[in-house]
C-alpha cells in the first residue's frame, strides 16, 4: 500500500515516484492522464478527517477521489474510500437520535426506523463496488462539464445492513408502488437548490442485495461515506446509494426533480445494458442503471519506468453484477491477447483482482487490458460519447519503459 510519505514527497520526487509526465501532474499527486489541464491547477492531495490522502477535486461540496494505488486490494479500506457530495450542507448525525421515516403514497402505513431497529433486523452482507456514475468523466473527448473525475471515484467494500425489503415490509407496499425514493440528511446551501432525492424501481428495491447498510468493512460507516446508514444498490452506479438516508418513500408516480431528470441520464440505445428503469424512460434518454464492465491497472501508472525482463501487471475488474469471466491483456496493441490470471472471488458485485506476467523488452512496452463479464460484454475500444461523460469503459492502455 502506498504511504502518505510516498504520495506527498517533494514535488519532483513525487513525479518520479508515480512516473507521471511532469506536464500532466507537476505536483505528482496521482492525477489520471487525460483529465482537463485546469484540474492540475487546483487538485491537491489532502486528508479529510479520518481519511488517508485523497485527490481533492473540489472542497465544497467535497469531491475527493482515490489514487489508483488504493485499489491494489479487492477491498478498499474505509480511510481510502472516495468522497462524493452534490450539496454542501452536510450535518454530523448522532446515532442515538437518528431516524429514517418510511412511508409514501405507495405504502399502506408509515413508520420511523431507528439505527437500533435496523440492527435488530436480519443482517445481510454483500461485497460491492460503489462507483460514481461520473467516474472517468475527466477522460471524455471532448471534455464535458462536471466534477472531472479520473479513475478513482470508486471503491469496493463489504457492506452489512438490513434488507431494504424488510424495512419496506414494515409499512407494506401497495401493488401500485412503482418506485422507492430516498432522501439523505445532506442538503443544499440555498433553499432554492433542489435537494438530492433519488429513486429506484420497486423491483430493484426489493432485491435481496439492496440494503440499508450501517457497516462498511466491519466498522460503522465513515461520516463522509454516509454515517449512520446508507442505501446499497449493488451493480448500480453510486447515484442511488443515498448517504445519511433519512427518508424512504414508496411512490405510485415517477419521482420528478432535477436529480432524476435531466441529471443522471444516458441516451437511449447507446449502451448495452440489461437493467431498465421503465417508469423514468423518455423517448430520448433514460436513467443510468447498472455499471458497464470495466478494468483498471493498479500495479503501474502510465509512463512508469521498469526493468526489462519478467514483470507482473495487475489490477481490478468489475461490472454491473454479472461477474467477471475473463481479463485479456495485449502487449502488441490488440493484435494478440493473453488471459490474465483471476484472483480472489468476493462475489459478483465485487472488484475481481487479475494479474498478467509479461516479458518487458528494452524500450517502450504497451499494456492494453479488456475485461469480459459473464454475459459476454466487454470493454470498448472507442469512447461512447454522452453529454454527462458516463459509462467510460474504454480499454486502458499504458506504456511502461525499460
Amino acid at each position: 500500500m502506498i504511504s502518505r510519505r510516498h504520495l506527498l514527497g517533494t514535488a519532483g520526487a513525487g513525479v518520479a515516484a508515480l512516473g507521471l509526465p511532469r506536464w500532466a501532474d507537476a505536483a505528482g499527486i496521482g492525477l489520471t492522464p487525460g483529465v482537463p489541464e485546469g484540474v492540475a491547477d487546483v487538485a491537491t492531495l489532502e486528508s479529510l478527517p479520518g481519511k488517508k490522502p485523497l485527490i481533492k477535486l473540489s472542497y465544497r461540496p467535497p469531491n475527493y477521489e482515490s489514487p489508483i494505488e488504493y485499489f491494489r486490494t479487492p477491498i478498499t479500506p474505509n480511510d481510502q474510500f472516495f468522497v462524493r457530495y452534490h450539496l454542501s450542507d452536510i450535518p454530523e448525525i448522532k446515532a442515538e437520535t437518528y431516524k429514517i421515516s418510511v412511508g409514501g403514497d405507495g405504502a399502506n402505513t408509515q413508520a420511523e426506523i431507528t439505527l437500533d431497529d435496523l440492527k435488530k433486523m436480519p443482517a445481510m452482507e454483500v461485497v460491492a463496488v460503489n462507483q460514481c456514475s461520473g467516474n472517468r468523466r475527466g477522460l471524455s473527448k471532448p471534455h464535458v462539464a462536471g466534477v472531472e473525475w479520473g479513475y478513482g471515484a470508486m471503491g469496493c467494500a463489504r457492506w452489512r445492513g438490513a434488507r431494504l425489503r424488510d424495512v419496506l415490509d414494515k409499512v407494506g407496499l401497495k401493488k401500485e408502488a412503482i418506485e422507492i425514493s430516498f432522501n439523505g440528511a445532506d442538503g443544499p446551501a440555498l433553499d432554492k437548490t433542489p435537494d438530492f432525492i433519488k429513486s429506484i424501481p420497486a423491483w430493484k428495491a426489493i432485491e435481496d442485495t439492496t440494503l440499508i447498510a450501517y457497516e462498511m468493512n466491519g466498522s460503522p460507516l465513515p461520516h463522509l461515506n454516509g454515517f449512520p446508514a446508507r442505501i446499497i444498490v449493488p451493480g448500480w452506479t453510486g447515484t442511488y446509494w443515498m448517504k445519511h438516508v433519512v427518508a424512504i418513500n414508496a411512490l405510485t408516480k415517477p419521482l420528478g426533480g432535477f436529480w432524476m431528470n435531466p441529471a443522471y441520464r444516458i441516451p437511449v440505445g447507446k449502451f448495452a445494458l440489461r437493467d431498465r428503469f421503465v417508469s423514468q424512460e423518455t423517448p430520448v434518454n433514460t436513467p443510468i442503471t447498472e455499471m458497464v464492465v470495466n478494468s483498471l491497472i493498479t500495479s503501474h501508472r502510465d509512463g512508469d519506468k521498469i526493468k526489462a525482463g519478467k514483470i507482473t501487471v495487475s489490477g481490478m475488474a468489475w461490472d454491473g453484477g454479472y461477474g467477471i469471466a475473463s481479463v485479456q491483456v495485449s502487449t502488441d496493441g490488440g493484435k494478440t491477447w493473453g488471459a490474465g490470471k483471476l484472483g480472489e472471488d468476493l462475489g459478483r458485485f465485487a472488484f475481481r483482482p487479475w494479474s498478467f506476467e509479461l516479458a518487458a523488452k528494452s524500450g517502450a512496452n504497451t499494456v492494453l487490458v479488456n475485461a469480459t463479464n459473464k454475459l459476454g460484454q466487454s470493454q470498448t475500444s472507442e469512447l461512447i460519447f454522452n453529454p454527462a461523460g458516463y459509462h467510460n469503459n474504454v480499454m486502458q492502455s499504458i506504456t511502461l519503459t525499460a
Binding site: 482537463p36 489541464e37 485546469g38 465544497r60 443544499p188 446551501a189
Partner: protein, 93 residues
Amino acid sequence: MRIFIIATAAALLALPVLAQEKPIQLKKGDGLDKVEANCQACHSLDYIPANSPFLNPASWDGEVTKMIKAFGAPIEDADAKAIADYLKKNYGG
C-alpha cells in the same frame, strides 16, 4: 443560517463546510469580484479552473444559466453577465 449565507459575500468566505478548505485564487480580471461574491455561496471556486480550458462561450453561458435556473442561485442579470464574461475570457476553451 441559510439567510445569513446569502446576506453578504464576507459571510460566504467564512463558511467552509470542511475546516481544511483553502481559498482558491482565480485569475485576476474584470468580473472576478462578482464571481467571488456569488459563486461561493454554494461551491468552492476550484470547480472553475477544473472545468477549463475546454468550455466554449455558449457552454459557459449555459453553466451560469444552470446555476440560476436549475440550482436557484440568486444572481442578478448584470452580475450573471459579468460572471459569464469573466469565465469566457479567463477560462474559455
